[in-house]
C-alpha cells in the first residue's frame, strides 16, 4: 500500500504531470483548441467534401462548440474514430467531445461513466424490405438475413429484439453505409436496418424506389447525442445550453444572415440577453457573452443546422420529423433564457 503510494508519487514527480483543472472547460480555453471525435463515412452526418473539408451534422456540432467556447469555429481539431475507438479516445483525453451519432442509453450514462449532451438527433431503428418479399412487419423476418452497421448500437438492439421475440436471423455487419446499401439493393440481405430517414434517401437514390418498403415498426428509439466524460459539469452546461440556444434562435427567428442585424437592432430584453448585448448569460457559463452570436454565425440556428446537413437544403432531404419545434410538429424545446 505505502509502496504503491510512494511509487505513484515518484512517478508523478518523474513525469511531471501537469496540474489538470477541475473542469475540462478551463483546459480547453487554456489550450485554445477544442478536440472533437467524429466519423468520416456517413453522408450528411460526418464526411469529407470534394475539397477534403469536414462536413455533416456531427461535425457541425463540433464547430458550434468551438465557436461557443473559444469564439472561433476554426479552433477545432477533428479526429475520425471507428466504433471500437470512440470510447477509449474519450477516456484517454485525446478528444474533449465525442460527436459521432452515439445513441444515448442509460447503461452508457451510468456504467460507462459518460455525460450525454442532448439528445440532438431523434430517430428510431426501422427496417426496409423489398416489396415482393411479402414482409409487412418485423415479426415476419424470422430466419432473414439482415444488413446492419457493424459496431453500432443498432447491431445490439437487433440481436436483443430477435432473441426477445424468439426469432432467428443472420446479421451481415457492414463497414459503413456506402458498403451496406449496395449490398442490400444487390440482394445480399433480405432487410436492412437503420434510421428510416436514411433508408428513405437510399431508396430514393437506388433507382428502384418502387420495389422497396420501409416498415412502420420501430424496434428501438435511436436518440443520438454528443458525449463528454463525467466530471466536467461546466462544460456540460455550456454544451447543453448551446443546444438549447440553437433551438431558441430558431424560435426567435435569428439566422446566420440576420444575426448581426439582430444584435444591432434588437429591443426585446429576452433577445438582447440571448445575444449577450445585455446581461451576463455567457459569463455565468464561463464563456464570452456573445457566445451564441458566434455559434449562430458558425452553424446557424437549429433549423439551418439540420436542413443544411440532413434536411431540405442537403442532397439527402430528410424530413425534420421529431427534430422540429413544437409549432412545426416536433418535440424540440428549450428552457427560458431569463
Amino acid at each position: 500500500m505505502s509502496f504503491r503510494l510512494i511509487a505513484a508519487s515518484a512517478l508523478l514527480a518523474i513525469t511531471g504531470a501537469t496540474a489538470s483543472h477541475a473542469d475540462l472547460l478551463d483546459d480547453i480555453k487554456e489550450r485554445g483548441e477544442l478536440s472533437c471525435g467524429t466519423l468520416n463515412y456517413l453522408p450528411g452526418v460526418g464526411y469529407l467534401n470534394d475539397k477534403g473539408e469536414w462536413s455533416g451534422y456531427d461535425v457541425d456540432f463540433c464547430k458550434a462548440a468551438a465557436a461557443a467556447i473559444l469564439g472561433d469555429a476554426s479552433k477545432l481539431k477533428l479526429v475520425s474514430l471507428t466504433g471500437p475507438q470512440k470510447f477509449p479516445a474519450l477516456d484517454s483525453g485525446e478528444i474533449d467531445i465525442l460527436s459521432r451519432s452515439v445513441t444515448q442509453t442509460i447503461s452508457r450514462e451510468t456504467t460507462l461513466g459518460y455525460d450525454f449532451i442532448g439528445p440532438n438527433h431523434l430517430t428510431g431503428q426501422g427496417f426496409m424490405v423489398s416489396k415482393d418479399s411479402g414482409v409487412t412487419s418485423v415479426d415476419d423476418l424470422d430466419g432473414a438475413t439482415i444488413c446492419v452497421l457493424g459496431g453500432s448500437a443498432q447491431e445490439r438492439y437487433l440481436a436483443d429484439y430477435f432473441s426477445f421475440k424468439g426469432m432467428s436471423f443472420t446479421p451481415v455487419a457492414a463497414d459503413g453505409s456506402d458498403q451496406m446499401y449496395p449490398m442490400y439493393f444487390g440482394g445480399r440481405c433480405d432487410a436492412v436496418t437503420q434510421e428510416p430517414p436514411y433508408m428513405a434517401i437510399r431508396r430514393l437514390r437506388s433507382g428502384e424506389a418502387e420495389d422497396h418498403v420501409i416498415l412502420d415498426d420501430i424496434i428501438s428509439k435511436s436518440y443520438e447525442a454528443p458525449v463528454i466524460r463525467e466530471g466536467s459539469p461546466r462544460l456540460r452546461e455550456v454544451l447543453q445550453w448551446m443546444h438549447y440556444g440553437m433551438i431558441t434562435a430558431e424560435e426567435l427567428g435569428i439566422t446566420q444572415d440576420n444575426v448581426d442585424e439582430m444584435v444591432a437592432t434588437a429591443t426585446d430584453p429576452n433577445v438582447k440577453r440571448f445575444l449577450g448585448t445585455e446581461g451576463t448569460v455567457g459569463e455565468g457559463l464561463g464563456v464570452s457573452n456573445d457566445w451564441m452570436v458566434n455559434v449562430i454565425k458558425a452553424v446557424g440556428n437549429f433549423g439551418e443546422f439540420y436542413d443544411r446537413n440532413l434536411g431540405k437544403d442537403s442532397p439527402l432531404g430528410v424530413e425534420r420529423g421529431l427534430n422540429a419545434l413544437p409549432r412545426d410538429g416536433g418535440v424540440l424545446i428549450s428552457p427560458g433564457w431569463q
Binding site: T15, Y41, L48, N49, L81, S92, G93, E94, D178
Partner: protein, 361 residues
C-alpha cells in the same frame, strides 16, 4: 602467347519469325498460347469498353453517370484531390506535394550506398527541415496545419518513410543483440522479434491507437499520428532486425579477426567493419521490406486514419456520389502498383550499379 579463338554460343535469334516458331514448337506451348490468347480476346474488349468507350469523363454529380454504363471517371475527376490529399487544406495542396517530393527524393538517393557520404546527412537535415516547414507551416507566412489534417498519399509516404527509417535505426541494436554472446541481450532480442513477428500488424495498431493512452500518464498521450508511427516502427524493426541478422551472419569470420588484429573494440568492429558490409549485403531484402511497409500502412484505415486507401474509402461517403467503389479502388490501386513497381525496379538498378562499383558481378 598463342592466338585462341573463343567459341561463343550462337546468338539468340530475336527476329519475330524465330520467336513465333519457338512459340509453336512444343505442342504444350501451342495449346497454352492459343488458350491464353482466346482468354485475352474474350476478357479485354469488354474491359476496354467499360474503361474507355462507355466511360463518363466529366459531370457535376452522380446523375452524369448512367447506372449500368461504363466507368464513371467523372467521379475520379471530382474526387482526385480528396483521394490524394484527404483533409489537407485544399489551397495548400502544393505544399504537401512539394514536401512529399523532397522526402521521396531523399529516400531514393539514400537507397544507394554509393551516395552514403556526409553530404547526404546534410541533405537529410535540410530536407527534413524543408519538409517540416512545408507540412506544418506557421512561419514564412505559411498557414499552420496541424498533423491531424495530414492525409492521403503524403500520409502514406510519411508513414512508410518513418516506419522504414526509425525501424532501420531500431533494428541495428536488436540485430546486434540477436547475434550477441551475452545471454540477456540475445534472449531479449529473440523475445521481441518472435512476439512481433508472431502477431498481426493490426493488433499492434489497435494497441497503439486504443490501448497506448491507458499505458501512459494522463495528458501525456502523443497524437494519433505519432502513436500509429510508433506501432509501425515497432513492427518494421522486428522484420528488419531479422534481415540484418542474416547479413551479420554472412560476414566471414576473417573480418572480425582482422578487426581484432587491428585492435578495434566491439563497437568499432561492428560500426566500422561489420555493419557497413552487412547492410550492403541485405540491401535487396531491405528494398522489399520498404514495399511491404508501404502496403502495410494501408492498415491504418482500420484505426480510422485517412491514408491513400482511407481517403479513397472516405470519398465514397459523399451523398452526391454514391456507389463508385470500383473507380475509387482502381485509381488508388493503380497508384500503389505504380509506386511499388518503381521502387522495386529502382532497387534492382541500384543493386546492379553497386555490384559493378564494388567489382563483383
Amino acid at each position: 602467347m598463342t592466338e585462341r579463338t573463343v567459341m561463343l554460343p550462337p546468338e539468340a535469334n530475336t527476329s519475330p519469325k524465330a520467336w513465333l516458331r519457338a512459340q509453336v514448337k512444343s505442342p504444350l506451348g501451342l495449346v497454352l498460347n492459343i488458350a491464353m490468347l482466346a482468354l485475352i480476346i474474350k476478357a479485354v474488349p469488354p474491359l476496354l469498353t467499360w474503361a474507355l468507350l462507355d466511360a463518363t469523363w466529366s459531370g457535376a454529380d452522380m446523375n452524369a453517370c448512367p447506372p449500368k454504363g461504363g466507368a464513371c471517371w467523372a467521379f475520379i475527376h471530382a474526387k482526385m484531390r480528396l483521394i490524394l490529399f484527404a483533409t489537407y487544406p485544399y489551397e495548400e495542396h502544393w505544399r504537401a506535394m512539394l514536401a512529399t517530393l523532397i522526402l521521396v527524393a531523399l529516400v531514393l538517393v539514400s537507397m544507394n550506398p554509393l551516395f552514403w557520404t556526409r553530404k547526404l546527412l546534410i541533405g537529410w537535415a535540410l530536407g527534413l527541415l524543408a519538409y517540416g516547414v512545408l507540412m506544418w507551416g506557421g512561419i514564412f507566412g505559411l498557414r499552420f496545419i496541424d498533423s491531424s489534417n495530414w492525409g492521403g498519399l503524403p500520409l502514406t509516404i510519411l508513414l512508410t518513410v518513418c516506419g522504414v527509417f526509425f525501424g532501420a535505426l531500431l533494428s541495428v541494436p536488436v540485430a546486434l543483440a540477436r547475434v550477441s554472446r551475452l545471454p540477456v541481450f540475445r534472449t531479449s532480442a529473440i523475445i521481441y522479434v518472435e512476439i512481433i513477428r508472431g502477431v498481426p500488424l493490426i493488433s499492434i495498431l489497435f494497441m497503439a491507437s486504443v490501448a497506448m493512452p491507458l499505458l501512459l500518464p494522463e495528458g501525456f498521450s502523443p497524437s494519433g499520428l505519432v502513436r500509429v508511427i510508433i506501432g509501425i516502427v515497432i513492427f518494421t524493426a522486428a522484420y528488419m532486425a531479422e534481415v540484418l541478422r542474416g547479413g551479420l551472419q554472412a560476414i566471414p569470420k576473417g573480418q572480425y579477426e582482422a578487426a581484432a588484429a587491428l585492435g578495434l573494440g566491439y563497437w568499432n568492429t561492428q560500426f566500422k567493419v561489420v555493419l557497413p558490409q552487412a547492410v550492403e549485403l541485405v540491401l535487396p531484402a531491405f528494398v522489399s521490406l520498404i514495399i511491404i511497409t508501404l502496403k502495410s500502412t494501408s492498415l491504418v484505415v482500420i484505426v480510422a486514419m485517412m491514408d491513400l486507401l482511407g481517403a479513397a474509402k472516405a470519398s465514397l461517403a459523399d451523398p452526391n456520389w454514391i456507389g463508385f467503389y470500383v473507380e475509387a479502388y482502381v485509381f488508388a490501386g493503380a497508384i500503389y502498383v505504380a509506386i511499388c513497381a518503381s521502387i522495386s525496379r529502382y532497387g534492382r538498378k541500384v543493386e546492379t550499379r553497386l555490384r559493378r562499383a564494388r567489382g563483383y558481378g
